[in-house]
Symmetry: D2
Subunit: 435 residues, 4 copies
């Protein structure tokens, strides 16, 4: 976790304090269930709740762990220090450490997913706002980085919205994947603990009981979770690349917001770097790098080995923290993005109408000119634009062979941008579900 790429709410999920709090809740709810089953005395279950408002002493737990070399035992020992050794003696009965660790990890991932989904909602909101704002802001569409046909800036925002809407769904499914808990004992047989305990604990923590666990919750769930995050990150990169391209000196169709006071910007006004979206490109790589190890974690030996643990200690916090930060940063970038419609027009007209050559070609053919002849007509005028800096429409209007097939009005019409934007409303309705 890199502090500069993190936000406190997500970081807090991964703090030792939060972890111990969740462990505590798992143990306390388990005691309740055990008491309800008559396995342990009611008083002992109630006693555990004495620590309800206690802030656990992480340093003390670490101290104990330094001796016991076991984190769950260290925590339980500290808990006993708080509620009394005698009262604590039934805590964790019949459970195995992984029951606590895995259920806690999934609680953390669920909370992380909730934040990510909320982040995504804010991003969607920003994208939608900017999409409507620039619904009709015409710019050139590009394939291969080369001018193709006109489109609008609103469509660009809209397609990012549609992509992020899909990512929202993926995040929801990812959340669903890991919203399970397991209190099933050393090899998952419930030999020493009744399934009713698992049911109660899960219900209290907002989880579903894992239908069949071993010592651990199966890791295909986590692989699917991190894979979904990798897809989201790749979409962030997709938006970032678009903005980086738009901000290039030669293109300059948009810029990341630059506060007036930001150093260096006014002596070299051309030197405003898209550092936020460049950063997002890198952050996307960081999120994505968790995907393969998460998949390598799936094939554990028999009822569990612990190879996944060190991986998850890293990618659990790092990936969710980075993605949370990235989503928030992207939202801010979109929100404040400075768009330059006039530069968009200037760029589109860089080759004085040549982007319309395809339409003219089509029109000539439809007007009965053979494909070969139409091609030659377009070509000879295009070449004058390309090589001599002429204006395409002017040349066409002055070419008798062209005007023999197309009237000036028809030629003019081929340069009408409305032709290209006529379905924008339809597409918006498809994306935003509105009329």
């Amino acid at each position: 976790m890199i502090p500069r790429y993190s936000r406190p709410e997500m970081v807090a999920i991964w703090s030792p304090e939060t972890k111990f709090r969740i462990w505590y809740e798992i143990e306390a709810h388990a005691c309740d269930a055990l008491a309800a089953l008559g396995t342990i005395p009611k008083e002992n279950a109630e006693a555990v709740w004495k620590a309800r408002d206690v802030e656990f002493d992480v340093a003390r737990i670490d101290e104990i762990e330094a001796v016991t070399k076991h984190d769950v035992i260290a925590f339980l020992t500290h808990l006993a220090e708080i509620i009394g050794n005698d009262e604590a003696r039934f805590v964790h009965q019949g459970m195995t450490s992984s029951d606590v660790l895995d259920t806690c990890f999934n609680v953390q991932l669920v909370r992380a997913a909730d934040i990510l989904i909320a982040d995504m909602d804010k991003l969607l909101e920003a994208l939608k706002r900017r999409a409507y704002e620039h619904k009709d802001t015409v710019r050139i569409g590009r394939s291969h980085g080369i001018h193709a046909e006109p489109t609008t800036m609103g469509l660009t925002f809209a397609r990012f919205h549609a992509e992020m809407q899909r990512n929202r769904n993926r995040l929801e499914k990812a959340r669903f994947e890991i919203a399970t808990g397991a209190i099933s004992g050393a090899v998952g047989t419930f030999a020493n603990i009744d399934p009713a305990v698992e049911a109660h604990v899960c219900e209290k923590l907002g989880l579903v009981p894992e239908p069949i666990s071993t010592q651990v919750i199966p890791r295909d769930r986590h692989a699917a979770f991190f894979a979904a995050l990798g897809v989201v990150a790749s979409s962030i990169e997709n938006v970032a690349i678009e903005i980086r391209h738009m901000q290039r000196t030669e293109v300059l169709e948009a810029e990341e917001f630059f506060s007036a006071g930001q150093k260096g910007s006014s002596a070299m006004p051309h030197k405003r770097n898209p550092v936020l979206t460049e950063n997002l490109t890198g952050l996307a790589r960081l999120v994505r790098m968790a995907v393969v190890p998460a998949m390598e974690n799936v094939a554990l030996w028999h009822e569990r080995d612990i190879s996944h643990s060190s991986v998850e200690r890293n990618i659990g916090p790092d990936t969710t923290i980075t993605l949370d930060f990235a989503l928030a940063r992207l939202t801010s970038v979109i929100d404040k993005l400075v768009v330059y419609p006039e530069n968009m027009l200037a760029n589109m007209n860089k080759f004085r109408g040549l982007v319309m050559s395809q339409r003219v070609l089509l029109a000539l053919t439809q007007a009965g000119v053979s494909r070969e002849d139409a091609y030659k007509l377009v070509q000879r005028n295009a070449m004058k634009v390309w090589e001599e800096g002429k204006d395409f429409k002017t040349e066409l209007l002055a070419d008798p062979d062209v005007t023999a097939a197309l009237s000036p009005a028809e030629i003019e019409e081929k340069f009408d941008l409305g032709y290209h934007t006529k379905h924008v409303d339809t597409i918006f309705a498809r994306v935003f579900g509105e009329s």
Copy 2:
């Protein structure tokens, strides 16, 4: 694609013949829609269907492509050779190559997904059958590769079933991700083609219109698709590793089926190698390696660049073909797996009852012995088993300090395997949804 790791049905999806057939259907359906809109004459649309039963000549198309350097144009030229130049002159009108290529690619992926889902159903069937067959076949559960507590072979099969059931859901969602088509023109604005054409073509091909496309269908869909396949592959590896472990010489709790005539098996009867599951381990890596490039494909420049294309030409066929083969191979392995219940018992008893030491410890404590004393009692008897090869139960029964706390019947009861299997039915009901 490695021929030995492929099956004809999936390979056929990726053949040039299939591809051209799908291209043809896209073009023909598009003509129907254009005719319905009045954009092109009805006769021309009908004429396209003259090729309905024609097998396209791949060699001829390649020949044309060698000249035109453009695959879609080469195909259209060949199509015109079949239905007549004049009749063909409205084919592809207003469309861009990517409309055909991307929609076709998604049709292929959908078909591939259908096969994978059918594969998965067969695997699920095999896993379920073996799970019930070995529901009560007791074996030792292992954490860290070390004996822990008893479980059953049926639970092992059942947890793989649950995992594969999740993977089936993931495959369905993956199929849904890529079941879209786009006929939206050069930059996705429908400038030269009405959205109704897209709607008609998609409906005919079993796809949903992409709500907003650029020149291409957005690649976050494909990233999600291949990510799902990577998770499935990781689960295959998970099952494979279990079987490879079971077949180890020292463990030998199961073996891949060996036909009587299989070379070398009888002179060295111990030398039956789990080559199928080892192979599956490798195939899992191959499927998984597509995940990252599929994610790198998401960030295309502006309305598209073509960097994704070469990647997809590889991972499209290779990944689906490999996964199809792997699922089928795993199904066969599960189906015929030779299970050795007696070896399972022998392994469990390798340390003459020591796996029950935890239960005895617990029983002593519950019988009022202090934790420290209980520990010492268990330890001194355990050590005799470990160091002198004694039997744990026998030692306990002969230890007066133990029998002071626990009656012989109580001690016996601690070695009852039924204790560990009492919830198997519950778990089966959770997995298989039956009582």
Copy 3:
């Protein structure tokens, strides 16, 4: 392997014919060594060479393999058909299949590496030629995609040369990594075969004996090999991205060569897509995707498991074939790249001298103006350029506060491009080792 992204020489290395030829040579040389040791009769060793000029019948070997289910046995059976059963009876004595398979694989990788190194030499040659050609072709250097300070096109080529020179070294080291052979028997102990056989076979095949093998050659070597290829691919992507940027419509400082006859180029002269470098971007991803599975292959169980095999059947051919193709394609792109020096100048001057603002700022400070004042002076003139389209130098020359500190000649000098190119020769000497 995708035919369109492959070249025959590299493909041939991975053909069954080549494989069987190498197997044959391994077996024949091994027989020579066994005969020299007196282990087998000299006549039998000599008899093997009867097949020296025989083209092995792949179909026949496949036929036998279909029965024996073992590729090496199938080959040996076919060999015996050629040289006679009796003469062949000592072939493969004391060897294990992996001795043949692994040694052969490394021979193939060595040959592949040789081709890649030769490819790289051609690329280096092209880069050097273009570097000298454009040593003094000034263009704007960019950081963050934003204009920074002038550099030259020659320096761009030169830095790619330096990078590829490093890659050449990496390829040589990669070749060295896998240039070993092993004929050491079932678990690498030479129990049934003398180390002298290994020494002889390796020497004949241009390999070094693997100091210690198990049944297989250790796979860390192959991991290092494919990792090196991944780095090379990443550098190819680096060059490709530069060219794709240069060819953008708004930048147009260079273009991939377009043959006069290439379809579509003249009617839409602006529409020349950098499809080759886009393709290289994708191919880089394909090469890179082999790196992780090659690393996952390292941890084989005990003296070997066969999980690596299916991975290598894929990445062995696919990765080397793709990289060979990519290097050749890149060489051709560099060779024929159309460079537009005038556009470079035009781009550099897009903001009428603003890229020199930094130098002016420095000069003012050095002339004794305080940092704050210097900043304000530069800023107020820069803003006129930025907002009103004025020329920077003209504005400076007209600003009395500026001219109070710097003479017109000094101001002029700040716009001298020679200032930026004065060390080009030094750098070239560092890169090309020439004066």
Copy 4:
């Protein structure tokens, strides 16, 4: 970075204190060089060294950065606070931030590499010691997890030694890859700074001047660096898997060292988990996951974009810290590994001599028995061992058809383990370069 998987010396390299110290040295040496060139006054260069023994105040620098939003400027401001604004006014002259950042990063990577190489030396020492200790400790060699032929534990250690020796070489090459510095200005042209400054700074810091840089040092170097670390990690996994297998309950040929007092070990003496090597398996995945993003970092836009930066802020520290920890942990595991030679023998004899069946088969053939007959003879005796629990040698000695071909002494000889270990010295000499 996960504290529990880190060691202070490596962590220190990545502390802000170390970073600022290196920045300081770069700036101070640069001033010296500038003074020697006469570019800045000697006194100013000397003044910088006043801070030689100052501990920079990280909190103060952070405070300044919070305002300036620029880390290098914040540092320079703080430096000026220490040595005086006036004295500091030539610091950093003609340099660009990346000159400092990239050169510093490489210094850190070089230092990290030095630690890793020293770690590797300790691991090599441990492996060598254990190899000689167990040179003749016979154990069964296994392919596919199945018994094959005897080998020795010493050979296992020796092959890991050979592999790690190769990794040491790779680390050295990796160190060489990134042991460069660059002080070349905004786009690498040395426009504002003489190459002599770079030469001086690099020499002082133990680096070589980057022959050609842009604003940054080319990232193919770093890709190669992290790829090498990924290979090393994969080898660590390789050793870890071997030990995890050896410690399996059913195999138990070795165990990670368990201190007498370690909790739980004596009541369940069988329950000693190979947690260290399992952990190493996970750590290997963590190191490896840096490889792909490091390769994705290579293709920067033009003279640099900053996408690599966030990636490196993570993988720089995390990967080196994790690998350092892993190497040290593995060394300790190897050092203290408890080896059970008697269990090795017991395992080898699990099938009462069957592992020698291949040798007997060979001997029968060499004694003139036809291959078919020899096979039948071996098979019928092997089956009695396999199915009836007989001893292979005893059966052979009692089979008249066998004894007709082989004398009892010859049969005995086939079970001589010396046959399998006769080349161990040769192999050791190859690995350890000793006689």
